[in-house]
Symmetry: C2
Subunit: 454 residues, 2 copies
């Protein structure tokens, strides 16, 4: 089994070299943060909004940001007694005032509206929030962020590098990011893991032995049962699981990544070599060697944010597989790729065609009423090959309604339970592309996806 | 639902016209029976065997034989205290003495040996047996026959025609005969049904409502639990189920035959039109319209009696289906045909080919030792397409060992659990014939089987 290797110091240093912000970067960020704070306060004054605080939150404020990322989160904090309407209108007025000096601005919406701007090359979120006494008394989800910020800042000191290493290590394993597309580890979750286990190395070693249901409760104050694979009780809210968005497969992929890394630590676990787009020739060779059926459902990508889009795409992936299964097709695997302008649901099948004949098994002969109804329906009917008794039941060999997966999807896909935006797009039209015709899809990012697929 | 039609008298008469022995037939049979009795007694005397009785048993002796059948059962009954060895040797000596006057003679063997002869055109079994006091004290299975004979003779009077109708009706439904090939209704079982229900019509009407586990106990003396579909407690032996050989499907086929008959009584239920052998052209058309895969396993028919052969063929049919299922092939149905010189196991499949790629699902990632062994076995191995985590488990896409059903059977069929004689024959050689090549099998009886098959 695994040797009890310690992770070489020079490997960690080599990684940090690439990911740790330089002194110059750090100074630039601090300067921009200060400038933004000044701008917000000036805007509030100009708009006669009293009693607001400006808070820098997020990894930039905690010293756990990766070099090359340029994200700043500025929270504009209103007194708790402010009404939600006032918070939103006054908050956004201040943000828009600040945005006058930005290169770009865009309204966004989570639980309430916020403004995303590009300011001196940084990607800045200006977020109005309530100033509540504790994270348990939230008026809105964003209100907890300042509490997270406080907790991390007071506990992470001296372990910022471990956080950086872990974030990059998770990126390398494809499990970093808690958006609904990725369903992986959030930045805050990563920080809490380091706080709990003490270091990058301890976390990696501990994760090798995780089991679903693994619970970490730093403050020993858990108040709720959770059934997610990993339960990281929020130190600022005993009811909340910080790892609620982590899927079982990403949980397992992380464990696998940790085990493989400890067997043979190396840079590739942090910086995996990029995959080249799969070429036509390679795809056709794979088709020939696998001899399965490849099916791509292609449609226009709905114009919504990823957190709205991906849950609908995953739902569609499930729905298509269930439909195929219902009509006797054997699905090997399914996958989702989405780009602009198109989205592709990939499905690999044992076979895209089935024989015309299909066996319908009826009720036992002695359940007289049902058995006779079943027999009357099929006996001598059109498209029935024949019937017999097998295992005490009437069996009829009937004409299969959908002998091809393509025909089934073309006719029935729109009747599946699909999310709103996906349903709208699919209703406007979609195409089923089979086997060698998948080569018609030329998007390079799709071709990278295809390399992992076959 | 079913109308409460009575069965038209003239239909019964029309059937009886064809199946009831004529006065001439009857006289001939009686004369031959008497002659046989005389011969047996003379033979015993000649061989100095004292104290034997001659008993005529079977349907001929009970007046429930169908016209055109020429079966006579002669039991040579020895005192109970006779040793088994003596019974067999002396009994067969007497039988062989009688056989000197026969056109043909053949040794046969059930629980003990008996002689089958052709005597004046009749098919005669000469069977040595013990004379026991009651059917419960049997020394051998054939010893119960005289008790059956007595019971039927004393209870069937006046209802012989109903027995004839029922036997012919069961023949028409393909459920008559308790040999291991047919697994249907024996003559004795048919007689007991008529005795219990009183008439052909009552039996047909009652059978429509049978359920598996249906128990008939004429003497109300059952002593044992049985789990067969029909339990007809032997009036001469409270422990025995006369219907033990009846399969669930033949039980159901009889119920179905009764229901259909009552809906629209007609001669065809007694005398179904014979099926014509399926021609090549018809078979090819059926292949084209079904689009499934047809597979025939062809081998030399072992030279053993049907009661030994058929259980082995049915076992082989099951074993072949299980083997195909184990290797992911989807069986639609299987069938057995046996003739001279060849036997055919027919198998219809969704497809006779599968893709090269096969999905191997391993243990959950968190069951560390098993999961790591599984991963180590497949990762980077030859003939492995790739791996991933799905549903918390390692999954590898590996090269399928048997992508064709033909290849699988050719290599693995002999390793299946087969009966002794079938195994010997299959070991000597067999052929897998696919789809259109099935036309190479030209036996007309096989072609009749094929008409029912497709």
């Amino acid at each position: 089994m695994e040797k009890d290797t310690s992770i070489p110091e020079d490997l960690k240093l080599a990684v940090l070299e690439k990911i740790k912000p330089t002194e110059t970067e750090r100074k630039k960020l601090t300067a921009v943060q200060e400038e933004l704070a000044t701008e917000v306060k000036a805007a509030a004054e100009k708009l006669c909004v009293a009693d607001i605080f400006v808070k820098m939150v997020g990894s930039a404020a905690r010293g756990t940001w990766l070099s090359g990322t340029h994200d700043i989160d500025v929270f504009i904090s209103f007194p708790e007694e402010t009404s939600r309407g006032e918070l939103e209108s006054r908050g956004m007025e201040i943000a828009r005032e600040v945005a006058k000096k930005a290169e770009h601005a865009e309204d966004r919406h989570a639980e309430h509206p916020y403004l995303n701007i590009v300011f001196k090359g940084f990607d800045v979120d200006l977020v109005p929030c309530f100033r509540v006494a504790s994270a348990c008394q939230l008026k809105s989800a964003v209100d907890r962020t300042p509490f997270h910020n406080e907790f991390v800042k007071t506990h992470i000191k001296g372990r910022e590098d471990d956080v950086l290493l872990m974030k990059q290590f998770m990126r390398g394993g494809g499990v970093y990011g808690s958006e609904l597309k990725t369903q992986g580890f959030s930045g805050y979750l990563t920080e809490l893991l380091i706080i709990h286990y003490g270091s990058f190395e301890n976390t990696v070693k501990a994760a090798c032995f995780w089991k679903p249901g693994k619970k970490i409760d730093i403050m020993q104050h858990s108040e709720t049962e959770h059934d997610e694979p990993l339960i990281m009780v929020d130190p600022t809210d005993p009811k909340r699981n910080v790892a609620a968005a982590l899927s079982l497969d990403k949980f397992c992929m992380f464990m696998d990544h940790c085990r493989e890394f400890l067997k043979n630590p190396g840079l590739k676990f942090f910086f995996p070599p990029p995959l080249a787009p799969l070429e036509d020739r390679e795809f056709l060779e794979k088709l020939e060697s696998r001899k399965s059926s490849q099916l791509a459902i292609v449609f226009q990508t709905p114009d919504v944010v990823d957190d709205v889009l991906y849950p609908q795409l995953y739902k569609m992936e499930q729905a298509a597989a269930a439909l195929l299964h219902e009509y006797d097709f054997s699905v090997i695997k399914t996958g989702v790729w989405s780009g602009k302008p198109e989205t592709v649901i990939m499905i690999e099948l044992i076979s895209g065609t089935l024989p015309n004949v299909k066996k319908r098994i009826g009720p036992p002969v002695w359940v007289r009423e049902h058995a006779e109804k079943f027999k009357a329906k099929y006996e001598g009917a059109e498209n029935v090959f024949g019937g017999y008794i097998e295992g005490g039941k009437y069996v009829f060999e009937v004409q299969r309604k959908y002998p091809t997966a393509k025909g089934l999807l073309e006719e029935q896909l729109v009747n599946c339970s699909l999310g709103k935006h996906v349903h709208q797009s699919v209703s406007k039209g979609f195409e089923i592309v089979e086997d060698a015709d998948v080569c018609m899809l030329r998007d390079l990012d799709f071709r990278v996806f295809l390399r992992k697929w076959v």
